[in-house]
């Protein structure tokens, strides 16, 4: 019995340990919120494991007891009530009081960081992508990729244009909902440069699974350079093919939904594409932003992400090539 309990504990710990490592895990924290929550988890994990092992061990001791089945005894026994008061009430109460207090402390610290960042980034949820606006830098609008400077908290102002979404980057912080008509503030901070995967965590419709995002943490000077660039309008394409691509972009329905600053296309139904080529993914994280995937996406976005709002565009092969060249020029 003891072996069984010990083995169970070992297996549980090993499995939980597996979860701790690996990229993208909430237990491999890269920022203060996630780190404090991971610490809280490990406290709860060990306490929980102790309780579970205790219960299982007790159960197995009881179950191994052998004896002849005899006449039933109807009276309500008084023995065993010590166990109920001691373990059921006493032990549980002590553990719970500890956990409630620690949980308050951790939650309080996380709350206290919110709104202190200085840098404010608005994240607007759409079915099924994220608009990202740097509120302190007019014009700096991008999508599905949030760049932040390392080593300082950044306030994300979260809201939604349609249904409820939820912002979650497990390595950096817990999640917070994007509710239409309301603005919530979440603080994120990355200690070191890196790319951190995020996802929508509130079911928001048919393509909830592919509403992904990336947080890119950069050293402050690199971040400033990036932000300066994002705030500028698009650079007029120099290459003739790309110039033709811009014509295609503006002639076809593309411009009816997307914005490319510096051109007449100024809609916000779909993501801002002014510096599209600098982004790492397309379709809100559904594919890497490479020429091949982009070609596939432009030809038939419904095949890759069925149910998203972008309709397929009928393009002649040369038009598609031109459009691709144009998209790649949007650096």
């Amino acid at each position: 019995m003891r072996h069984r309990a010990a083995r169970l504990a070992a297996v549980t710990a090993a499995l939980a340990g597996l979860a701790a490592c690996g990229d993208g895990s909430a237990l491999a924290p890269k920022g203060p919120d996630a780190r404090e929550i991971a610490g809280l988890w490990w406290l709860m994990f060990w306490l929980g494991l102790a309780v579970y092992v205790f219960v299982v061990a007790l159960l197995f001791v009881v179950l191994r007891k052998r004896g002849k089945v005899d006449e039933p005894v109807p009276a309500t026994p008084r023995e065993g009530r010590g166990l109920i008061w001691g373990a059921g009430v006493g032990m549980t109460t002590v553990i719970i009081v500890v956990l409630v207090l620690v949980s308050y402390v951790v939650g309080g610290r996380i709350y206290d960081r919110r709104g202190t960042g200085g840098l404010r980034v608005e994240v607007v949820g759409y079915k099924f992508w994220w608009e990202v606006r740097y509120l302190d830098r007019p014009g700096a609008i991008t999508a599905n990729e949030i760049h932040i400077p390392t080593g300082r908290p950044v306030d994300l102002v979260l809201t939604s244009r349609d249904v409820i979404h939820s912002f979650w980057v497990p390595e950096l912080a817990g999640k917070l909902d994007l509710v239409p008509g309301v603005r919530h503030v979440l603080s994120i901070q990355a200690d070191r440069p890196g790319e951190f995967r995020g996802a929508c965590a509130e079911y928001c419709g048919v393509q909830h699974a592919n509403m992904l995002l990336l947080v890119v943490a950069q050293p402050p000077d690199e971040f400033e350079a990036w932000l300066d660039r994002q705030a500028q309008p698009r650079q007029a394409p120099a290459d003739p093919l790309a110039q033709r691509g811009e014509e295609v972009f503006l002639r076809t329905p593309c411009g009816a939904c997307h914005r490319v600053r510096g051109t007449p296309a100024d809609a916000d139904v779909g993501p801002d594409l002014t510096h599209f080529a600098t982004r790492r993914t397309l379709g809100a994280g559904v594919r890497p932003n490479t020429r091949g995937h982009l070609g596939g996406w432009l030809s038939d976005p419904q095949a890759i992400k069925p149910g998203n709002l972008m309709p397929p565009t009928k393009l002649a092969p040369d038009e598609l090539l031109a459009l691709l060249a144009y998209m790649e020029s949007l650096t």
């Binding site: 996630a34 089945v69 039933p72 065993g80 949980s103 979650w168 999640k175």
Partner: protein, 634 residues
């Protein structure tokens, strides 16, 4: 105490049989209002819905077996998880437990029927129609896909203009009405119709569990009925309760939903835990340890569970102080839950264990439910919940709670009471195979999902990309689901095979101590030829000569051909009156059909169909009320 079979003149016995009998024939079958017939139908129907919900789970797990699969596709996957949750909550768990309550409680507390038999029959028909109504959506092409929680604005008129959400709202509202109707019935039955001598401290634990959860239903279901009506008004006539653009608030729905939804968990859990405590004496040969404490903690769970709902909304951006309260309350519920578990262990410790399938389910319940309870304490922490909320960690958590705390007890209970329901025993070997497949399978399915949650896998995703470290755990989880399904196949086969061919059980195959085993298996329509007098929590274990009441019982003769039950006082269960119950009738079926017709009219925006339906509802209620039962005071 003893029953008084054959201690009466034949003529009196014949009158009793005649008064309670249901003649053969389909129409008579439809008009049957006896609590055992209705309870049995609830049990069978909800078991079928359990299997249907299980098939949906298998489809989902197959879709998620590996990255980028295209077994279901996004639409079908979203419909599958919506129907899975809705089916398991509204069409399986609550109706199954109410069905067990309707069947067993009158037997356990020594009465002949539930106090409002026609209302009971009405509940069943409405339940059956609600299930058909919801699944009818499959044939219309607009299947509900808003999740079992159905949050607006996603479920509102702007984003779901088709009728999919209407199917959900109206179907679920019907099941809520069914729940309320059944709860009223069970509360009155347990309060007022216990056998003489069954004081509060002699009520079987299952009846206590049913009482607590029924009272909870009366408070928890109306908010969702109200919330659903408001959403239906938003959808049908353009009100703006949940529309933020017009000053409404989508978070209001979340409050209304979860102030139903969290007590709902305990509405299922309390009677299920009580099932375990009621089976325990038979397999440990001892009364349960600290019975009063167990009952008090069931009541405490019931109270506290109304103060937890916001822990489903920790990520919704509510004020910190409000959430702090809900952390403490959510964790506090571990204390009465701990009392249940340790009372169970203490009882096994004091007792002599009988190693049968029922005991396996009791042990499985402890192993699975305690783990789910521990992760439940964890997610009650606001800060920790911000990470795992709406991830597979939570999926794992609540499946441990609900499979451990509700499904395993129900499967054990069906094993235990199958002989009472059918007169036949289930096969022990098949029973054990099924248990190990289900127990092993569910652990393999859900344990890896804890890890997936930490690795960043949100809930309700129809697919995932490879290279995230999720593939292996998802594969394990799917294999576990297949094993669980195999277990359910064996379990169902065991029931099907032994339904008519099993070993005859006799009245009391387990040598169990409570009243339902004092009568034949299956019980006669009138349950007890004479109402027994009770002087113990475990009447069948008391030495016979110790009973001062001898062979006599109340109602051992019927006047004419009436269905009569005893009314007793709430606290001391002193018999004070005899009530006559109405007999078989078709009015409840007509009334339930008319309600569905009315709602169908609402669905298809047809004034005529709706008006005809409504008129038939009124008409059938008049017919229903035309003849009421008589009351006599003795």
């Amino acid at each position: 105490m003893t029953t008084t079979e054959d201690a009466r003149p034949d003529a009196a016995r014949a009158r009793l049989v005649e008064a309670w009998s249901t003649k053969p024939g389909f129409i008579n079958w439809l008009s049957n209002v006896n609590h055992k017939a209705i309870g049995f139908r609830f049990i069978i129907t909800s078991f079928i819905f359990l299997l249907i919900g299980g098939v949906q789970a298998l489809l989902m797990r197959t879709q998620l077996m590996g990255p980028d699969l295209d077994v279901l596709g996004p639409d079908a996957y979203n419909e599958a998880f919506t129907l899975h949750g809705t089916t398991m909550m509204f069409l399986f768990a609550v109706p199954m437990l109410e069905g067990l309550g309707m069947y067993l409680v009158p037997l356990m507390i020594g009465t002949r029927d539930l106090p409002f038999p026609r209302l009971n029959a009405f509940g069943y028909w409405l339940y059956l129609f609600a299930g058909i109504f919801l699944y009818w959506s499959l044939f219309t092409g607009s299947v509900p896909d808003g999740g079992w929680f159905n949050y607006p604005p996603l479920a509102g008129p702007e984003f779901r203009p088709d009728s999919s959400i209407d199917f959900w709202l109206l179907g679920v509202t019907m099941t809520e009405v069914v729940g309320i109707v059944g709860a009223l019935e069970l509360v009155v039955c347990i309060a007022r119709h216990r056998a003489p001598g069954m004081t509060l401290s002699r009520i079987p634990v299952f009846a206590w569990g049913v009482l607590v959860s029924s009272v909870m239903i009366l408070f928890a279901f109306p908010p969702l009925v109200a919330g659903s009506l408001m959403l239906e008004l938003d959808r049908k006539i353009g009100t703006h309760f949940y529309n933020p653009a017009a000053g409404g608030d989508p978070i209001l729905w979340q409050h209304l939903f979860w102030i139903f939804g969290h007590p709902e968990v305990y509405i299922m859990l309390i009677p299920a835990v009580a099932l375990i405590a009621s089976m325990l004496p038979a397999v440990t040969r001892r009364g349960i340890v600290a019975y009063p404490l167990v009952v008090v903690s069931l009541v405490a769970i019931g109270f506290i569970s109304f103060g937890l709902w916001v822990h489903h909304m920790f990520a919704a951006g509510l004020p910190a102080l409000a959430m702090a309260f809900f952390t403490a309350a959510s964790m506090a519920i571990a204390i009465p839950s701990g009392v249940q578990i340790f009372s169970l262990i203490a009882t096994m410790w004091r007792g002599k264990l009988v190693w049968n399938t029922v005991l396996l389910y009791v042990v499985g319940f402890v192993l699975v439910f305690v783990l789910g309870g521990i992760t439940g304490v964890m997610v009650a922490s606001v800060a920790f919940d911000w990470q795992v909320h709406d991830t597979f960690f939570v999926v794992a958590h609540f499946h441990y709670v609900l499979i451990g705390g509700v499904v395993l007890p129900i499967l054990g209970a069906l094993h235990y009471w199958f002989p009472k329901l059918t007169g036949r025993l289930l096969d022990e070997r098949l029973g054990k195979i099924a248990f190990w497949l289900i127990f092993g399978g569910m652990n393999l399915t859900f344990f890896p999902q804890h890890i997936l949650g930490f690795l960043g896998m949100p809930r309700r995703v129809y697919t995932f990309q490879s290279g995230l470290g999720w593939d292996f755990y998802n594969l394990l989880s799917t294999l576990g689901a297949y094993a669980t399904a195999a277990g359910f196949l064996v379990y169902s086969a065991n029931m099907a095979i032994n339904w008519s061919r099993g070993r005859p059980a006799g009245d009391n195959p387990w040598d169990a101590p409570t009243l339902e085993w004092a009568t034949a298996s299956p019980p006669p329509a009138y349950n007890f030829a004479a109402i027994p007098t009770v002087d113990s929590l475990y009447p069948l274990w008391e030495p016979k000569e110790a009973s001062p009441h001898g062979q006599a019982g109340l109602l051992d003769d019927v006047e004419g051909q009436r269905r009569e039950i005893v009314g007793s006082t709430i606290l001391d269960a002193e018999a004070i009156e005899i009530l006559e119950l109405p007999g078989n009738t078709l009015w409840p079926l007509v009334a339930a059909s008319a309600i569905v017709l009315f709602l169908f009219g609402v669905m298809i925006d047809s004034m005529i169909v709706g008006a005809v339906g409504l008129a038939t509802v009124v008409g059938s209620l008049l017919g229903w009320l035309w003849t009421g039962p008589e009351w006599r005071h003795e």
